[in-house]
């Protein structure tokens, strides 16, 4: 998928652990793992809002668009 999730980077910058974020956002660690590994097909605005609020960042800080190479 051309959308990549940079949640690990943001967590490292904030020195926060995954389970702590999951707890504060109100999602399960399994779901957070799905999001981090890029397996998620969609993200709710409410979840995105909660993540941005907890990490004090913008949606663009935790996800980005990478163009597909033609070989893929």
């Amino acid at each position: 998928m051309p959308i990549i999730i940079n949640l690990d980077v943001m967590l490292a910058r904030r020195k926060m652990r995954s389970n702590e974020l999951a707890e504060k956002v109100g999602i399960t660690t399994a779901n957070l793992s799905i999001l981090k590994t890029g397996k998620a097909k969609a993200i709710r605005f409410s979840t995105l809002e909660a993540i941005c609020e907890v990490l004090d960042c913008q949606p663009g800080d935790i996800m980005g668009y990478v163009e597909h190479s033609k070989n893929e």
Binding site: I27, N31, L32, I34, K39, A40, K41, R44, T47
Partner: protein, 170 residues
């Protein structure tokens, strides 16, 4: 889920009754083939005569195969309902089962409709074209039922995709 259990009982009963036909059907056909006078069988209201005995027996065999296909469809339906009972709903196995039920019912409808049409032309020298919709046992109804199950299979396939999307929405 009380309705599901009732349906399961009814389908199990239907399967049991259908199996009786499968078990005793073949010996009956053999009996008709060996002693047509002692076992007066009818096709379309006409007694099976010596003149068309081979054709009649062949027709019986084809109808029997159609009946077996129908019983197989009922068996698959029984399996499908067992899956529903185990709360396995939007699963690949159920999609395959629904598709196979549909196909077996369509095979039944074809075998019950087409060979008798040609039998009448050959044995009775009678061409009969018409829509014969005499109840729920008619080939037309069974073909419709088969197509319905196949459509249901496609609907389940779509639902499975939607469920996967919903499961992967965070």
């Amino acid at each position: 889920m009380k309705r599901l259990e009732t349906l399961r009982i009814l389908i199990a009963l239907l399967f049991f009754v259908s199996m009786l036909g499968v078990v005793f059907g073949l010996p009956m056909i053999i009996m008709v083939a060996l002693m047509p006078d002692r076992v007066p069988f009818e096709i379309g209201g006409n007694l099976v005569s010596h003149a068309h005995l081979v054709e009649s027996v062949l027709l019986f065999i084809v109808l029997y195969v159609g009946y077996c296909s129908f019983t197989y469809g009922v068996y698959l339906l029984k399996k499908l309902l067992a899956n529903f009972s185990k709360r396995v709903i939007f699963d690949t196995s159920n999609i395959t089962l629904l598709d196979q039920i549909g196909k077996s019912f369509i095979v039944t409808a074809m075998l019950w409709a087409v060979p008798p049409f040609f039998y009448k032309i050959y044995a009775e020298s009678r061409l009969e074209i018409g829509i014969n919709f005499d109840g729920f046992g008619s080939p037309m109804f069974i073909a419709s039922l088969g197509l319905f199950f196949m459509v249901l299979s496609e609907v389940f396939l779509m639902a499975k995709g939607m469920k996967e999307d919903a499961d992967l929405t965070i």
